[in-house]
Symmetry: C2
């Protein structure tokens, strides 16, 4: 049964949104086309009217997840030069650890991206580059510099690697070693904030 063009566009958007949640929750290989379209309130049959393939959807969902995650860094309330600190504080929380479906795509996807389709790898790299740039700009502002220098970018990359690695490791130990998982969040919060 045909639906209006407007409704069809909404359905497409609902699929991308559901995919963003489910891929972040279960990984690219852990969420199927049928599960995703069902979560969007549809059946899987019409899927290929909207997307060329599952990889095509995954690349778009990856890009959208990055955009949403980056927005949370760019719309912070702290003054410039204090935003990275606040972001680190919000990033290394039990809530973020336990709700990967709403969180940063990097800790969930990074390990699998090398084995995914090229369009997914491209969307991921573009997202990472945006994060580095935004972090570096705030680190430059903290120094009173107008534009980020190489040292800002390098420090931004250390901060990002620490956040992504730390969150991935905190999640990996959450069930089998909960005390270690908490320690990841607490220790890194202190160590990384001391870097900025």
């Amino acid at each position: 049964m045909r639906v209006s063009r407007e409704k069809a566009a909404e359905n497409r958007e609902a699929i991308v949104r559901a995919a963003g949640k489910l891929f972040r929750q279960n990984g690219f290989d852990g969420a199927g086309v049928a599960e995703i379209t069902r979560a969007a309130g549809l059946t899987h049959g019409g899927f290929y009217g909207h997307f060329a393939s599952k990889d095509d959807l995954a690349a778009e969902a990856c890009a959208q997840s990055f955009a949403g995650s980056l927005r949370r860094l760019e719309t912070r309330t702290e003054p410039p030069g204090r935003q990275v600190e606040g972001y680190v504080e919000d990033y290394l929380t039990a809530y973020h650890r336990d709700r990967s479906d709403r969180g940063c795509p990097m800790p969930v996807f990074a390990g699998d991206v090398p084995r995914q389709a090229m369009e997914i790898q491209q969307a991921f790299s573009i997202g990472v580059e945006s994060f580095i740039g935004t972090l570096a700009r705030d680190l430059a502002a903290r120094r009173g510099a107008a534009k980020p220098a190489k040292r800002d970018r390098q420090r931004a990359m250390l901060v990002l690697a620490g956040l992504v690695g730390g969150m991935a490791l905190a999640r990996a130990s959450a069930k089998a070693a909960p005390a270690l998982s908490e320690e990841w969040l607490e220790s890194l919060k202190g160590e990384i904030k001391a870097l900025v």
Copy 2:
């Protein structure tokens, strides 16, 4: 056709070894029982005489990969207090990035571990804990301290998170953004060595 008990033990070991390589190369879900046993020079039929399940093998292969990786940290030639620095230098190399099948299990596995069987999560957490302890001991030695204090452990966790996150991100960008991938290795080498 039956083989000797000695040969059977060798076959079992060959399966674990092949699994360690293939899981690190293709991920837990990306390497199958048939592929692994074939790489060990066997067929898949006899697999369940050696292991209760694929997850059972994965847990053992994970533990063995950690042991081998940890050995590379514990048998370094630098004097105590200088070993972390050397390890960082070896870790953040193009060779390590391009040969994940021979490298550290953490960047490959961390993202998928939360969705794996509990025995795999346990093997992973035990391995991570060993790494933190060994890194912290060397950081303590650098200070001239006999035993690692809390600050050594926290710093060790930052170093480990940076290495693991950095390597995962360097691999994720290797094909789609090779310049960014190189930058991950170079920038983090400098930044992390400055931490110890």
